[in-house]
Amino acid sequence: MISRSFSLPGRVATRLGAFQLSRRLYRDLVAAAAAATLAITSLGGSSTLAHGPDPLLGTTPWDQDQIVGYQWAPWGVPPAWMATAIDAGAADVGESRHSRAAKFTRVSSATSKIAYGGGVPCSSYGIACMNRTGVPDHFEGMWFRPHGWPFDWGNLRWCQGLSTPANGCYDAENVALDEFGHIEMLGHHVNNADESDFVDSVVQFAARSRPKVGWNEHVFGRCDVARLQLEYALSSSADKVSTCLSLGTSLSIVAGATTIGTGSSVRVTGNLKVGTSSSAKLLSGDPLSNRSIALQRKLPGATTWATVGALSPNTSAGSYGLTITPPQTYDYRLLFATPSGEGLLASSSSTVRITVNDCAPAAGAAPNMPVKDMPLPPCS
């Protein structure tokens, strides 16, 4: 109780810190675009979560990217084949978390213990279990029943403990990954009634034995990753959002100038973010880089948009840009189409008109002054 009461405020502070940073970036971007139009809209609107990320287990997450060391319990040191499998499961977390979730690594001395046999406190019907009490300082333990443990149906066999894997054995690396998923704070995935979505998650109520589908998955499933991303955020703004999510996005447009002279160039920039939403949790408002953003234009009063080109990434996260030389006055917008490989919804920016003149407006006459002033004659 005491350690949890200490840990929780720290986590809240961390999360608030991330949110405030995001808000600060947002304000900075607004200020920098003093001469341009800034507007944000989104298509698809709501940030609904589709298909069900794993439910939460517990309330206290680890710190982002925290390295959690573990050691073998002195009374339950696993045999080499099991040690290898558990360590591999820990490595699988780091390789498939696609988020800033904690990583696990075996060290020579740690408070977090993993045991093989030797008084397993799991439910009587469990082949492995864990206790995530102690997060974010440590986890209380992880336990694996030994090879040969008798159940009503027969004796437990770990595949890695067999010289020749046989049907009915359980993959210890898969089960270890499941347990590490719990320790992250993943609850059991809620499968469809026919379990057609079983491989969407490694963190299942019941592991599958060889050779059933999913018996030897060694990476988190997309709905495991979805929950990790919601709770720990993306590793980088270029990371793909899990397709187990369906998050709205927001796209802003900033024109370097809204009135330019004929033949002048103007840079159009945009910022793509996850839409602000409580359901998007830690992803809410986060920038999205390396996505495809298209610039479209139409004549004032027209209804049909035509694509002008694709924006290139800017150096700052979630920022894109394209320099154009408008031949005449157009309305412009940015478009982010729904991607096929990740759980983001399409969005388009508001419209900004870039007027092409042969003259320059008088100083202070318009709210949006050209950035690249040219020696144009004053407009009459």
């Binding site: 084949w81 093989y116 008084g119 439910s123 019907y125 009490t133 090879h147 040969g148 159940f151 403990g161």
Partner: protein, 369 residues
């Protein structure tokens, strides 16, 4: 079930032979820490259950008795067997090297019930911590998966599965006083389809008066409990269905179970036996135990702390208590338990990993203001 392959009787010569065969597997061993060598286990001359003048088993014999089951692993890390240690207080009375498929329960009246299977037949034994001896109750060609003592008459309630198919064969009463009688079915096998998936574990628990037998059948994702009134053979059970985890124990007209959780912390549920409905007792606990009299549930709510929560189930009164050392854990009771200690009605089992279990009396614990 008429075709069951029970040993026909326990006529003395056969019993002696059987005991001798089993004793051939007994071995003396070093006490933990290598300080002493326990005496060689022997065959009890008679049932080790002490009885009062009326023939009723005495529960208060052998206070401080305990048992521990430890796995014996081969060089590849696979279970090669289990070693049973039985003792009292700080001393070991006997050690037995047994097969992998071995369970133990109790002690009650200084007697541990042990069921072990050598892949050809199962044996049910009463092991005495006082006499450092073992008494064969019965043998079965089927596999005995769990066995508990009925302190009302000294018989043993045992759950069986088929040796070939591992199908549930129900729970049977062995070793009635009229010992020549064949085992009697107490609780039939769970009907096919009553629970989704193969049964992984079947646990047995008898309430304090010895009237209600809880038979809990668990798949790999949850359990179903049937409650049988053992005084009324053939009476249909009360079924407690819905999300539940392993058994914790009886508490008056309620049965306490864990919630169906992936691990710990986990919630504790109380099932009203009359309505078969569950209510939450505690949202999260790392370990828990119920006193035999059902008055208290004691829960560790933070395995890293020394504080322990005591809930008086009748009133719901909660208190943080002292008295359980930081090394001690609340020990599970049931078919998968690896240790047990003789308990008074108001006690729970505790113990540190590898150490001898001992009892703890929550009613007497100091309350943290």
């Amino acid at each position: 079930m008429s075709g069951r392959r029970w040993s026909m009787s326990l006529a003395p010569p056969i019993a002696v032979l059987a005991v001798a065969l089993v004793l051939s597997r007994f071995q003396a061993g070093a006490e933990a820490g290598g300080k002493a060598t326990p005496p060689v286990a022997g065959a009890c001359a008679a049932s080790p259950i002490a009885r009062d003048a009326a023939g009723k088993p005495k529960r208060d014999v052998g206070p401080g008795s305990w048992w521990k089951l430890t796995e014996r692993l081969d060089r590849a890390g696979a279970m090669a067997g289990r070693q049973l240690a039985v003792g009292r207080g700080g001393s070991i009375a006997l050690l037995l090297d047994l097969a992998t498929e071995t369970v133990a329960s109790g002690p009650i009246g200084g007697v541990v019930v042990v069921a072990t299977d050598d892949e050809r037949r199962s044996e049910i034994r009463l092991v005495s911590s006082l006499g450092a001896c073992s008494w064969l109750v019965d043998q079965s060609a089927d596999v005995v998966r769990g066995a508990i003592l009925d302190p009302g008459d000294g018989s043993v309630l045992a759950h069986l599965v088929d040796r070939q198919t591992r199908a549930d064969l129900g729970t049977w009463r062995f070793g009635r006083k009229d010992a020549l009688a064949e085992p009697m079915l107490v609780a039939p096998a769970l009907a096919p389809g009553a629970i989704d998936g193969p049964i992984w574990i079947t646990d047995l628990r008898l309430d304090q008066p010895g009237h209600l037998l809880a038979v809990q059948s668990c798949t790999d994702s949850g359990c179903l409990t049937r409650l049988f009134d053992v005084r009324v053979p053939g009476k249909g059970p009360t079924v407690l269905a819905g999300g539940q985890g392993s058994l914790l124990g009886f508490a008056g007209g309620h049965l306490l179970t864990w919630a169906a959780c992936p691990g710990f912390p986990c919630g504790i549920q109380s099932w009203d036996i009359a309505t078969a409905k569950a209510t939450s007792v505690l949202d999260r606990a790392d370990a828990a135990a119920v006193t035999l009299d059902g008055r208290f549930v004691v829960a560790s709510t933070d395995a890293g702390a020394v504080h322990t929560l005591r809930i008086e189930l009748g009133s719901g009164t909660r208190a943080l208590i002292k008295g359980i050392s930081a090394d001690d854990l609340l020990l599970p009771v049931g078919v998968a338990a690896t240790s047990g200690v003789q308990l008074g009605a108001d006690e729970i089992p505790v113990g540190a990993p590898g150490a001898n279990p001992h009892s703890f009396r929550p009613a007497a614990a100091e309350v943290i203001p």
